[in-house]
């Protein structure tokens, strides 16, 4: 539940969120275009975005509330920097069809989930470079690490955005982090096993235009 609803954040934060998201999407598209054709990546992007889109429906009841999967780490690991626009599309569909988040907060929510996806991509890419092992296990461990960190970062960013409302929202950090610990664990396992599986059967699905295919 790292989607912030409409009507909570202040106008400057919402506007800044949209501005940063639009700028980041522009940079990502420009960068990807230099590396190759984006159009060729879209079918792959659609498949992974579908997974991201429905992942938010897998709810786990925790204590007095419920949380759901995010899978932004998986987006980063599989799509690379294109994960950012893909998350934007996924969140747009979630807002319209599931009522998760909203349109005015779309920019902020894309930052909350998209920036950690970029970090996950970075971890996975740099990790793969530093560990010149072709073993599937090392890739899976890196993927798991990237997946877990992406969720943790998404939760922290969301809590940070809520803190712009004032100090009385500081408790939000505690609640959000506490309830998302199981999600961090689950996604660590999910991304680790997906990477292990893909590395075996379809290694070209891992990595992106931005990163070398190993």
């Amino acid at each position: 539940m790292v989607h912030i609803s409409d009507g909570i954040l202040s106008l400057p934060v919402l506007a800044a969120g949209w501005a940063i998201t639009i700028a980041l999407i522009a940079v990502v598209l420009w960068w990807s275009k230099r590396k190759g054709s984006i159009v060729e990546e879209i079918p792959r992007l659609s498949v992974i975005t579908s997974a991201f889109f429905v992942a938010s429906l897998f709810h786990i009841a925790i204590g007095p509330t419920s949380v759901h999967l995010i899978l932004n780490g998986l987006m980063g690991v599989t799509l690379g920097i294109l994960a950012y626009p893909a998350i934007f599309i996924g969140l747009l569909l979630q807002a319209f069809l599931f009522g998760h988040g909203g349109i005015t907060v779309l920019g902020v929510n894309t930052i909350d989930m998209g920036v950690p996806a970029l970090v996950a991509h970075g971890i996975f890419k740099v990790g793969n470079k530093l560990i010149p092992l072709e073993s599937i296990t090392s890739k899976a461990v890196l993927g798991a690490l990237a997946g877990g960190i992406a969720v943790a970062l998404a939760v922290l960013l969301t809590a940070g955005m809520l803190c712009t409302l004032g100090i009385e929202y500081a408790w939000a950090i505690k609640a959000l982090i506490l309830y998302h610990i199981p999600i961090i664990v689950i996604e660590t396992v999910i991304v680790g096993s997906v990477v292990a599986f893909l590395a075996r059967v379809k290694p070209e699905l891992i990595g992106s235009l931005g990163g070398e295919r190993r």
Partner: protein, 158 residues
Amino acid sequence: MNRKLVFAIFVMLLVLSCLSISTVSAHRLHIVHKLSEIEIEAYFGGGTPCRDANVNVYDKEGNLYIEGVTDDEGKFRFSPKIGMDEYKVVVEAVHMPGHKAETVINLSQEAAGAGAGGMGTEMPLYTRAIAGFGYLIGLAGAAMAYMGWKMKKKYENL
């Protein structure tokens, strides 16, 4: 003479009993009416009740009418005010910060049967999920069509 007196008393009693019918009310059925409560229910997608959430109810003019918190089932009840038939209910989750929803309850429309709220009025979740897949498949399809068109052009130029 005696007979006449008895007859006269009998007639008087009869008249009296007829007159008093309207005032005897031992078996009268009473109906009074009272508008009791409006119940709202807050829940997260997936059906988990939104517990302990802050509820603010505003009237048509936007003045705060009643505030409170939802119970363990995510429910909150409040009595409507006579003469006020529109309320805006805003629920803000406490255990999952950053989640807020609002709805407008219009009693005159509810009476006409137009505004029955609740879980049943949403489009089923699976249809919405399928709709989302539809858009994404459409996007992939458009990209593939473009690639195909580009490839065709490339071969035509050869």
